[in-house]
Subunit: 307 residues, 2 copies
DNA sequence: CTAGGGTGTGAAGCAGATCTTAAGGAGAAT
DNA sequence: ATTCTCCTTAAGATCTGCTTCACACCCTAG
């Protein structure tokens, strides 16, 4: 071992390990599988040991690979932090911040925050993409994104690894959304709705899971009349009297279809909107500026009125 | 900052910082000054700040440079350790270990150790270069060498930075070397030699410094008849009766010229032979094998007889 | 069983990054 | 002034590492 090992190869290796296949890692790096394969071959030659077992479903680490992965992960973290240090050196507030957000956060928080940013840091621009929380977190880990706005529903757990910095923007209640003339008490409990038809987000979505969990806790399985992940369609269905729904307050705000919105007396349910960044990058000046702008909007956002 | 920073440039930057000039760093890296200059320009562009002030005597860090240096040094250390991890993965005992040694250690320790190594790890080869301790330590820091055998004389301090691993091989006395028929007591003290002529290594050498220090402590300044760093010449001069000398036991062993060797009754002086390696590399299997071989020789080396 | 999806490898050629060469400037030492 | 050291810059050479393309393998589905 005459020279220092090639850092780029180690970074790629860490990516391969996390993605579980050369192909997937290559996609996330924006290069060809072949390039990744060649890098791994070179790395294995450098080590004198096989690091990956090529299996039909992908590549899994050998025990030697596990050992090296530890160091490779540290290296990635260190380089990421170094990039932050470098960004702090000039302190200049200019550049692009890539943020991934849930749809309902985009309208109520990100868009207004972009306007705030135009005032406070005009040279900072946001590149926004809309994803589900899980996908946002992966994009964060891939370095494809600097910031993620996600939501977490009560009783629907979501793993947040410790290398991520999490800041709560706001908490909002889940409200009952019904047809205008629906036969629903003024101050409803969930139990009172056990016989109604429901319009549900899919069980795989956090909101759908939260609704089902709450209903079961209240002693019934919600009778599904409609199931869709399209929020507009969902509210439209409720508006036509197809059933009732349990949704975060802010998510309904944008809808055009006329519906009735009521606060549940019991149980009290909510979701939290969280800003997430890698620890290593959160202190970059332009990232910090974005975080602050979003928090600013979150703090002064008037909770929409509820009947 | 879209991608991770370029590790190679950071490594070069650390080297420049330590050497104090692009030219010197370039030499130690085996590339042109121009290449280093271009790398530093690119790194500064990446940071958006000047990292080095170019001054006529070399390059000195700006305050931003100081900040980045910290991270760059960590990076170098990490990569060095990673190289060790990689070497341990295969565990194979094969390759070249570059060792830098003082001349007197080469014959009495390194050469025999090479023979031991032929038995215990035949695929491991040593590349030996002979340097003064200070130069050896710098070669170690530059990664030009994996192992250094140096000596440290009593009362002649030598700075050993904490990132270096130090292992003592042996301690040996400084002995009085005289002409065969010299008028010297059988069991001499240093004070008794204040009126003799001396054959001295240069004051800049550790041995010369040690001799002078000891004489002054005994209350006299040694009268210098000959001054040379050439050990063979030095012993020859003593052999011809030009004066007496104080030398490490092992250093005289090789000489052909006939001399008398006496142990000083007082003061008791000695030097220690130390093996030094970077912490990050000491655990590489082949480096460890060399260390062990040298220790092995050191332990069973019969101290040469003294009259 | 073949087709089609996924995986990963490897040779060939190309492109861009990085190095060398060469020329030049600026300050310090002689 | 001359010469030395240190650094920069432009231009061209070199080389590493990427893409392309062809192929091999395994699994699953028809």
């Amino acid at each position: 071992m005459d020279r220092l090992p090639d850092a780029a190869r180690l970074v790629t290796f860490a990516r391969v390990a996390r993605h579980g296949s050369l192909t997937s890692a290559a996609r996330s790096l924006g290069i060809t599988t072949s390039a990744v394969s060649q890098q791994m071959t070179a790395l294995e030659a450098e080590c004198g040991v096989r690091l990956l077992d090529r299996e039909p479903r992908g590549a899994v680490l050998t025990s030697a690979g596990e050992v090296l992965l530890q160091r490779a992960d540290e290296l990635v973290r260190h380089l990421d932090e170094t990039a932050t240090t470098m960004a702090q050196l000039s302190g200049e507030l200019a550049g692009r911040v890539r943020v991934s957000t849930i749809a309902s956060g985009a309208t109520s928080l990100i868009l207004p925050a972009a306007r705030v940013l135009d005032r406070t840091a005009p040279a900072v621009a946001m590149t926004v993409s809309v994803h589900e929380p899980q996908a946002s977190l992966e994009a964060l880990d891939d370095g494809a994104v600097d910031l993620a706005l996600i939501d977490v529903y009560d009783h629907v757990p979501l793993a947040l690894p410790s290398h991520l910095l999490v800041e709560e923007v706001l908490t909002e209640p889940l409200v009952l959304v019904t047809h205008r003339d629906a036969d629903v008490p003024r101050r409803p409990t969930l139990e009172a709705l056990s016989t109604h038809d429901w319009v549900l987000p899919p069980a795989t979505s956090a909101c759908g899971a939260a609704t089902r969990h709450a209903c079961r806790a209240a002693g019934f399985e919600p009778r599904s009349a409609w199931e869709t992940e399209d929020l507009l369609l969902l509210v439209a269905a409720v508006s036509r009297g197809e059933g009732v729904a349990l949704l975060p307050r802010r998510a309904v705000a944008d809808s055009v279809a006329p519906v009735e919105i009521r606060r549940l007396v019991s149980p009290v349910l909510g979701r939290r909107l969280l800003l997430v960044a890698r620890n290593a990058t959160a202190q970059r000046p332009i990232v910090r500026a974005c975080l602050d702008a979003i928090h600013h909007v979150g703090r002064r956002a008037p909770a929409p009125a509820t009947a």
